[in-house]
């Protein structure tokens, strides 16, 4: 029997009879309407309509489809996971949020609630932060995908009434020299994606005038088929402007760009695997960004929040108007009535359901009390953008949609926001890789230069300079340090004119570790983000988690996800760094296989006085150089093994208790103004960190390698290139050395050498010279690979 019938109305409007529909029929309906709903969800909806004794309409089912999608409802993170050790009731609840709840930090202002995580900056001011993924669209159309990804996350910040002050981006590509003939059909070349993504982020961020201040660029074979694009945004807001009091009778105001056929079914697309047809079939889901439209929105929203004219706000992202409107209504226990005819359209011919779920960019949704409506609309007009009242909130608990004066949908909001829970199966089997047996190289200097020239370590100037990181005049510690443009550990921003308080942003990710062990990968990422933040003087750190994983319906992908979540709970808790926001992007699979499990940790710290911030460049000849932390034979997933084509097994672990102990002391030393420079040890270990700090400051180094604290006797190459966590290089002026050592007592640290005025890096081992390289050669090796014309 045909369960879908067209209504008598002149426009696209279908009635769907779900009564007693069989599984096959349900699947058939989903297929006809292009829905991504699972059978379990379809049955749930069918039963809901049975109880209500009514027929469904196409637009109603489309609404369920949007709301239940992985992208909007996070069903994997909220659902059940059956593991060999038992059932987990929600990864989010059992690990991530649990960590936050148990830490219970009083400075967390609003977490895991709104569009962004919000923490205190001062008594009156708060900082909001959000990081998003935009992988699938960027794989299809790198420029537009990345640009609209950034545009979307900026709207998340606008969506908590905050004023955006900075952006971040973390990008993962296949190797730029990947052979063309090995690319499967439909997969674009890494260098095409690289240029497109960077131009897209740059063009959007620069045009809207928000500096992009921190990020990372990673290259690995496993990203060839699945490019990863994370975009983040940070904003500040006065707490009293954080208005959330939508009431019955308030208007639903849609502001910004017009609604078009672009971006329809973006959500379902983002929650599905990429195939070779994605390029053509997914086309409407990829969009062209218009940063100037968003710039206008930003100005208007700032004024509206300053004058407290709105009662609520949210961005329009995944799921389009349907999600924004229904979520708001449900959040305030209200109902809503929308007149779809009022929505300004780009395209002449759009079906009502298309208008309702279109994800056209640069739109925001405001709730406005009747007395302020006129004023709000005028503010948008003055910025040369549109705002329209498209409906009103009521207390019905229903979303009622009208089109050409016909009621075309009546959706029970409760059923929409309490979807059936999914159950996933997890089974993590640790892989075994070859632990290489390498000869000890004779020329360590040559190896160091090769390490510096590897894509993952080499200078990312070509990326960073494409982004304006100075606009707004608040960037106190910049991504690139000084005239030699060394890699700073974190960015420091000074967002308030009348205060010296600063915001510190850093990030950590270690995808190669994740191929070996997702638990220690996550632990390492947390440690890296945290120690980068500490290194410049940050503290009171909040974390964001962004998971990019393969298809969670495979038990092994799910298993590694569980491992990573466990580490988030355990390591994060020991660091007392609460998670305040995050996002997951699953189903990153391509004809080349799943994406490397990639957890990005973003750390947001504060620094009470930006004038005490520490950069990574050496400052003064004659000062002492210290290493903090212990070096271990942990080269699994290291750049050094990678140089020889190996992955290895011995992945770096994290001794969280000891790490946090030394970090706290380092902060004390920084606050006592004892620290001249500080650089974190990460990719390429000690050797690379020494080279970077040295050529950035234009000063030499002489160290004795035997002074480095080790867990066991180590080969010199391993000692130099091991990527053990929780280590930092610290420069202390000679006359402060004693005081510094006193503070660091009780931690693993050691003075390993001195800063010299000779422009060279000299490493001795038991008085034997094992490496001596002029700084200009090191910097050349580091800068060359990603420099030059594009």
């Amino acid at each position: 029997m045909n369960r879908i019938t067209k209504s008598d109305h002149s426009f696209d409007h279908y009635i769907i009879d779900l009564l007693n529909a069989t599984d096959d029929e349900l699947n058939e309906i989903a297929k006809t309407l292009g829905l991504g709903l699972s059978l379990q969800e379809l049955r749930f909806i069918r039963d809901h309509y049975l109880i209500k004794e009514k027929k469904a309409t196409d637009i109603e089912l489309q609404t369920y489809d949007q709301t239940y999608s992985e992208h909007c409802s996070h069903k994997t993170f909220k659902g059940f996971v059956n593991t060999p050790e038992g059932t987990i009731n929600g990864l989010l609840k059992s690990y991530i949020k649990k960590e936050t709840d148990e830490i219970n930090a009083p400075w967390c202002y609003s977490v895991f609630e709104d569009n962004a995580g919000i923490v205190d900056l001062s008594y009156e001011i708060a900082v909001a932060i959000k990081v998003e993924t935009h992988n699938h669209p960027s794989a299809i159309e790198p420029f537009g995908g990345a640009a609209t990804g950034l545009g979307g996350v900026i709207r998340d910040i606008l969506g908590v009434w905050a004023n955006p002050i900075a952006c971040t981006d973390v990008l993962c590509f296949g190797p730029l020299n990947y052979p063309y003939n090995k690319l499967p059909e439909g997969v674009k070349h890494p260098s095409y994606l690289f240029n497109g993504v960077i131009d897209g982020i740059g063009s959007y961020g620069n045009s809207i005038g928000i500096p992009t201040v921190n990020g990372a660029t990673v290259f690995d074979e496993d990203y060839t088929g699945n490019v990863v694009v994370y975009a983040g945004c940070i904003g500040v807001l006065r707490k009293e402007e954080y208005v959330k009091e939508v009431k019955k009778g308030d208007y639903v105001v849609l502001a910004g760009g017009k609604t078009g056929l672009d971006g329809i079914h973006g959500v379902t697309f983002a929650s599905a695997e990429l195939t070779k047809e994605s390029e053509t079939t997914s086309r409407p889901a990829v969009q062209v960004g218009n940063p100037i439209e968003e710039e206008k929105l930003k100005r208007a929203i700032k004024q509206i929040s300053e004058e407290r004219l709105g009662s609520g706000i949210t961005d329009i992202g995944g799921g389009g108007i349907s999600c924004g409107v229904c979520e708001t209504a449900d959040k305030y226990n209200l109902g809503v009535q929308i007149d779809l005819d009022k929505i300004p359209l780009k395209a002449a011919k759009m079906a009502p359901w298309e208008i309702w779920i279109s994800e056209s960019q640069e739109r925001m949704l405001l709730a406005v009390p009747p007395k302020n409506l006129e004023k709000v609309i005028q503010i948008f007009k003055d910025e040369q953008t549109d705002a329209t009242a498209i409906g009103r909130y009521d207390d019905s608990g229903l979303a009622k949609l009208f089109y050409h004066e016909v009621k075309i949908a009546e959706i029970d909001l409760k059923s929409l926001f309490e979807p059936p829970k999914t159950t996933r199966i997890s089974a993590w089997i640790p892989p075994k890789f070859v632990e290489p047996e390498l000869d000890v190289p004779t020329d360590l200097g040559l190896i160091l230069k090769k390490m510096l020239a590897s894509y993952n370590i080499a200078s990312k100037e070509k990326v960073v300079r494409r982004y304006d990181h100075e606009v707004k005049g608040q960037t106190v510690v910049k991504p690139l340090q000084g005239w030699n443009a060394g890699p700073n550990n974190a960015a420091v921003l000074k967002p308030l004119e009348d205060s010296l308080i600063g915001v510190v942003v850093s990030s950590g990710l270690n995808p190669r570790f994740g191929k070996i062990d997702p638990y220690w990968m996550a632990a390492s990422s947390i440690d890296e983000a945290y120690r980068n933040n500490i290194a410049v003087g940050g503290r009171r750190i909040a974390l964001l988690d962004n998971f990019t994983w393969g298809n969670p319906e495979y038990p092994d992908r799910m298993g590694s996800l569980v491992e990573a979540c466990k580490a988030c709970y355990e390591i994060g808790k020991t660091y007392e760094a609460p998670f305040i926001s995050g996002k997951d992007s699953l189903y990153n699979e391509s004809p080349l296989g799943p994406v490397a499990p990639t957890l990005l940790i973003t750390a947001l710290g504060i620094i009470p006085d930006i004038t005490t911030a520490v950069t990574m460049d050496l400052k003064k000849p004659g000062s002492s150089l210290y290493i903090i932390g212990e070096t271990k034979t942990e080269l699994g997933g290291s750049e050094y093994y990678n140089l020889y084509g190996y992955l290895g097994n011995l992945v770096p672990k994290v001794d969280a208790q000891n790490a946090i102990n030394s970090y706290k002391k380092l902060t004390t030393a920084i606050d006592s103004k004892l620290v001249l420079s500080c650089h974190d040890l990460s990719d390429g270990g000690l050797g690379v960190a020494l080279a970077e700090t040295s050529f950035t400051g234009g000063l030499g180094i002489k160290i004795n390698l035997e002074k480095v604290p080790v867990s066991e006797e180590m080969r010199l190459d391993y000692l130099l290139f091991s990527e053990s966590n929780s280590r930092l290089l610290v420069e202390v002026s000679d006359n402060n050395a004693q005081q510094f050592e006193k503070i660091m007592q009780g931690t693993k640290y050691s003075k390993i050498g001195t800063v010299t005025s000779e422009p060279q890096l000299e490493i001795l081992y038991l008085n034997k010279k094992i490496l001596r390289e002029p700084l200009n050669e090191l910097i050349k090796a580091w800068k060359t690979p990603l420099e030059g014309p594009r």
Binding site: V471, K472, G473, V476, Q481, V614, P789
Partner: protein, 270 residues
């Protein structure tokens, strides 16, 4: 006139985005500075209330067509007469980055023989694409640009640049003659230079965009309209300088003298 009576008009359009730094600088110097949407001015047309007009950087109208072009033409059409009258009174008009582009597109710069109808110069695509980096520029103006007379000739200033279209160029058919004229009129104000002040010789990245003869900023023959690509407003405070953690922190950075000079000049002469 008294400092607190000085009124600065900062204009903005959709996509202007370096306005708040500039506003902050003027306010720090204790003058009255107002940031106004150009649409509003198109209605009131009252430029006469102001002593200084400042066009901030950004991407006005997305820099579509050409950087600054759309805003420039719109302005010319709507308040062209009023702007021209303002300039002819000798009052300072300054454009930074996108503002410079606007002044070139409206014909207020270089304005060899008064405001031109069509642009006489262009800010073309950078030789190395969009770049955000710190540069050094030297003040080479011999005194014609009186609003900067507080900055000694030969002073080297560190400022950031951030643009994709900022390569100063003149028409190829008449290049040599026009360049000569630019120097003859003492219209060249800032040139990109090396650390020791020697010429960049169009070498990238010392000259970050490939500008003709390393020109970073120019003024009109009368000296009261000034445009430059680098951003003094982003180097206003000491903690914004690129090496403050190693060279020591001062309250103000290299951009301070730029704004201070303009204000002092206005104080003395109006």
């Amino acid at each position: 006139m008294k400092r607190q009576d000085i009124r600065v008009l900062l204009m903005r359009a959709p996509g202007t985005n370096c306005d708040l730094e500039a506003l902050r600088a003027f306010r720090d110097l204790e003058v009255t500075a107002e940031l106004i949407h150009s649409q509003k001015l198109f209605k009131t047309k009252n430029l006469d209330d102001y002593n200084i007009i400042f066009f901030p950087g950004g991407f006005s109208y997305g820099d579509y067509v050409r950087s600054g072009a759309i805003w420039a033409k719109e302005m010319e059409y709507r308040i062209g007469k009023e702007l021209k009258a303002f300039v002819e009174k000798g009052k300072p008009v300054i454009g930074v980055c996108n503002g410079f582009q606007v002044l070139v597109e409206t014909g207020f710069l270089p304005a060899f023989n008064g405001k031109s109808i069509e642009p006489e110069a262009a800010l073309g695509n950078n030789t190395h694409g969009y770049q955000c980096r710190w540069i050094r520029m030297k003040k080479v103006n011999k005194g014609n640009c009186r609003m900067l007379s507080e900055i000694r000739e030969g002073t080297i200033i560190q400022n950031p640049v951030a643009h994709g279209e900022g390569r100063f160029i003149l028409p190829p058919t008449n290049l040599v003659k026009l360049l000569e004229k630019l120097y003859e009129n003492d219209q060249v104000v800032f040139k990109y230079c090396k650390e020791d002040g020697s010429p960049a010789n169009e070498d990238w990245p010392i000259n970050p965009n490939g500008a003709l003869d390393d020109i970073a900023g120019i003024c009109n023959p009368e000296g009261n309209v000034l445009g430059l690509m680098p951003h003094p407003e982003r180097a206003y405070y000491g903690h914004l300088m690129p090496t403050w953690t190693s060279t020591g922190l001062k309250k103000y950075g290299d951009g301070y003298q730029f704004f201070e000079s303009i204000i002092k000049y206005t104080e003395k002469n109006f």
